[in-house]
C-alpha cells in the first residue's frame, strides 16, 4: 500500500508540472480552434522561444525580463511570419489538409535543424543551477518552481479567458473560429484573427518554455514530444474547447505522474502515444461526459442521429 503522503506529493508535483502542458495545449488548441489547423510548426516555435531566452540569459548575460521579452517576441514573430508567408499562401491556393500537415511538420524540422546547428544537441537550462528552494507544507515538498509554474499558468489562462470574453478582438477570434466566412461578411478580418492567434500562441509557448527551461534540460528535439502531448490534450478536450483541453492536459500530466507507481518511467511515453491513438479513434470529438451520462436515453430516443466517428470527423 502506497503511503498517502507519497500520493499527495505525486499529485502536487504532477499538477505543478502540468502547467507546462496546460500552456502549450492552450497555444495548440486555440490555434486549431481559430484557424482549423493542426499547427505542428509550434514545435519549432518552442525551440525558438527557448533558445532566444537561453542566448539572452547565458551569452549576453542580460536580466530575465529582457530574456522573456526576447523569447516572447521571437516566438510570436516566427508564428506570425509562418502565418503570412506560409499558411496564408497555402490557404489562397486552396491546398488540401495534407499540404498544411507537411508544411508545418517540415518547418518545425527545419527550425530544429537550425537550432541543432547553432546550439548543439546537449540539454540546456536557462539557469546554471535548476535547484529551487523547497518548503515543507504539511509534509509535502513544494518548490518555488512549483509555485511560479502554477501562478504563471493560472494568470495566463485567466487573462486569455478575459480577453476572449470581454474584448472585441477576443470576440472576433471566437466569431472567426465559429464561421470564418460569416465573420468576414460582418466585416471581421479572418487574416487578422489568425495573426492575433499566432501572437497569443507565441506568448503561451514562451511562458511554457521558460518553465520547461528552468526545471530541466531542453534540447532542440524535445519540443516534438511536447507538441504531441498538446495534440493529445486538445483531442481529449474536444475540438474548439480550449479550456477543457487545458483540463485534459492536467489530467494527462497527473496520469503520467501516477503511472510511475505501476509502470517503469521508460514506458511513460508509450502511455502518451497510446492515449493519442485511443483518443482519436474512439473520441474524435473529445470526451463529452454529459453525453456519456445521457447516452442510453439519447440512443433510445434518436438512434438515427448518432453518427459514426468517420462522419463526425468529417463534419468537424
Amino acid at each position: 500500500m502506497t503511503d498517502p503522503l507519497v500520493l499527495l506529493q505525486i499529485l502536487w508535483t504532477g499538477a505543478a508540472t502540468s502547467s507546462i502542458f496546460v500552456l502549450l495545449t492552450i497555444a495548440f488548441s486555440l490555434t486549431h480552434k481559430v484557424t482549423g489547423l493542426w499547427n505542428f510548426a509550434q514545435a519549432g516555435f518552442m525551440g525558438i522561444a527557448f533558445y532566444a531566452m537561453f542566448f539572452v540569459l547565458s551569452e549576453l548575460q542580460l536580466p530575465l525580463i529582457v530574456a522573456l521579452a526576447a523569447g516572447a517576441a521571437s516566438a510570436a514573430l516566427a508564428s506570425v511570419l509562418t502565418e503570412i508567408f506560409g499558411l496564408d499562401v497555402l490557404r489562397a491556393r486552396k491546398s488540401g489538409s495534407l499540404m498544411f500537415f507537411i508544411f508545418t511538420l517540415i518547418l518545425a524540422q527545419l527550425i530544429i535543424y537550425v537550432l541543432t546547428l547553432l546550439f548543439g544537441t546537449e540539454p540546456r537550462t536557462l539557469y546554471k543551477s535548476i535547484m529551487w528552494p523547497v518548503r515543507i507544507v504539511g509534509s509535502i515538498a513544494i518548490s518555488n518552481w512549483d509555485l511560479q509554474a502554477v501562478a504563471i499558468a493560472i494568470a495566463m489562462v485567466t487573462l486569455l479567458f478575459l480577453f476572449l470574453k470581454t474584448t472585441r478582438e477576443g470576440q472576433f477570434l471566437v466569431a472567426v473560429s465559429d464561421n470564418a466566412k460569416l465573420a468576414e461578411l460582418y466585416g471581421i478580418s479572418a487574416k487578422r484573427a489568425y495573426r492575433v492567434t499566432a501572437v497569443i500562441a507565441g506568448l503561451f509557448i514562451c511562458a511554457a518554455m521558460y518553465l520547461a527551461g528552468t526545471r530541466g534540460g531542453v534540447t532542440p528535439n524535445s519540443s516534438f514530444e511536447l507538441v504531441l502531448a498538446a495534440t493529445i490534450a486538445t483531442l481529449l478536450g474536444g475540438m474548439g474547447r480550449v479550456f477543457i483541453g487545458a483540463l485534459a492536459a492536467v489530467m494527462l500530466a497527473l496520469i503520467q505522474s501516477f503511472s510511475v507507481l505501476v509502470i517503469s518511467s521508460r514506458w511513460q511515453n508509450l502511455l502518451l502515444y497510446g492515449f493519442l491513438f485511443v483518443a482519436i479513434t474512439l473520441f474524435p470529438r473529445g470526451i463529452n461526459f454529459r453525453r456519456l451520462k445521457s447516452k442510453p436515453k439519447a440512443a433510445a430516443s434518436a438512434p438515427a442521429t448518432v453518427g459514426k466517428p468517420a462522419d463526425v470527423a468529417q463534419s468537424t
Binding site: Y273, L276, I280, D311, A313
Partner: protein, 302 residues
C-alpha cells in the same frame, strides 16, 4: 565509388518505400503517416529472424513483410473509422507508440538498435549485387503498382477514393478495399525494411522517427501524388541532393544538421514553387478537387 553505389542502394530502397506509400495515400486516399513503422517492422523482423534462427535472407525478408501486413491490418481495422486529419494523427500515435515499444524491449536492442546482422553477400561485389537486387525490386514495385492501379481493381480503388458514398451505394465495401490497399502498401514497405537491414547490417529506432514520415510524404507529394513515376522521382531528388555535401568533409556534428537543413529547405521550396509535384500536373488539381469535395461533404454534414 562505393559511396555512390551505397547512395544508389538507398535510393532504390526509398523508391520502393515511396511507391508503396503512394499506393496507400495517393491512390487509396488513406492519409496516414505511419509508413515508416512498417518499414521498421520489416527491418527488425528480418534482422531478428536472421540473427536468432539463421534463416535464409529471402525467408527473413518475407517474414518481415508478413509482420508489416499483420500490423497494417491491425491499424487499418481500428483507425480507418476516422479520416482526413484525424487519420493522420491516429497513425502518428500508432507509429510513435510502436517505436516506443521497439526502444524499450531488450530483444530489439533498445534505443541502440540491432547490429551484426548476418552478411548474406560477401566480397567486392557485395554493393553492386545489392544494388541489382534493390534496383530490381524497385522496378518490380513500380511496375506492380502501375498494373494494380491501371487495372479493374485500380479503378475500384480510385472510385472509392474519389467518392466513397457513391462507391458504397453501388454495393461495394470500401473498408475491404482500404484494408487490402493498406496491407499491400505496408507489406511492400516491410520488404524495403528487410533489404535495408541486410544491406546496412544495422537498424535503430532513430531511423524510423517522425522525420522519416515527413520525408516519405514529401517524396510522394513533391514527386507527384497519384502518379506512377512521381514518387520514384521524388525519392531520387530528395535522397541524392542532400548527400552532395558529404564530399565537403564537414565534421559529423555539423554534417547531420546541414543535411537536414538542405532536405527540409528543398521540401519547402518545392512545396511553394512546384506544388503540383515534379511529375504531372494532375495532383494539384486533384488535391484542390478533393478539397472542394471535402468542403461539399462538410457543408452537407452541417
Amino acid at each position: 565509388m562505393e559511396y555512390i553505389l551505397t547512395i544508389m542502394v538507398l535510393i532504390a530502397i526509398f523508391v520502393i518505400l515511396s511507391s508503396s506509400y503512394n499506393l496507400v495515400i495517393g491512390y487509396g486516399g488513406l492519409a496516414t503517416v505511419a509508413h515508416p513503422i512498417f518499414y521498421a517492422l520489416g527491418a527488425y523482423t528480418s534482422a531478428l529472424f536472421a540473427i536468432h534462427f539463421g534463416l535464409p535472407a529471402v525467408v527473413c525478408v518475407l517474414a518481415g513483410a508478413m509482420v508489416a501486413v499483420a500490423a497494417s491490418i491491425l491499424l487499418a481495422l481500428s483507425a480507418l473509422r476516422v479520416s482526413g486529419d484525424y487519420l493522420l494523427i491516429a497513425s502518428l500515435g500508432f507509429q510513435l507508440g510502436l517505436l516506443q515499444v521497439i526502444k524499450n524491449f531488450e530483444f530489439t536492442g533498445g534505443p541502440g538498435g540491432i547490429s551484426a546482422i548476418p552478411n548474406t553477400i560477401t566480397g567486392p561485389w557485395r554493393t553492386p549485387a545489392y544494388l541489382l537486387i534493390c534496383g530490381g525490386i524497385a522496378v518490380l514495385t513500380v511496375w506492380l503498382i502501375a498494373r494494380i492501379v491501371h487495372g479493374p481493381y485500380g479503378r475500384a480503388i480510385k472510385a472509392m477514393r474519389d467518392e466513397e458514398l457513391a462507391f458504397s451505394a453501388l454495393g461495394r465495401n470500401p473498408i475491404t478495399i482500404k484494408v487490402v490497399v493498406f496491407a499491400i502498401g505496408c507489406g511492400i514497405a516491410g520488404i524495403a525494411g528487410g533489404l535495408y537491414a541486410f544491406y546496412f547490417q544495422y537498424v535503430s529506432p532513430d531511423q524510423f522517427e517522425v522525420l522519416q514520415s515527413a520525408a516519405m510524404l514529401t517524396m510522394v507529394v513533391l514527386g507527384g501524388m497519384g502518379t506512377t513515376l512521381g514518387p520514384a522521382v521524388g525519392a531520387v531528388v530528395l535522397i541524392a541532393i542532400p548527400q552532395a555535401i558529404t564530399f565537403l568533409n564537414l565534421p559529423p556534428a555539423v554534417m547531420a544538421p546541414v543535411q537536414g537543413i538542405i532536405f527540409t529547405s528543398l521540401v519547402l521550396l518545392f512545396l511553394f514553387l512546384r506544388p503540383s509535384g515534379l511529375v504531372g500536373p494532375l495532383s494539384r488539381n486533384r488535391m484542390a478537387g478533393r478539397t472542394a469535395l471535402q468542403e461539399q461533404s462538410e457543408g452537407a454534414a452541417e
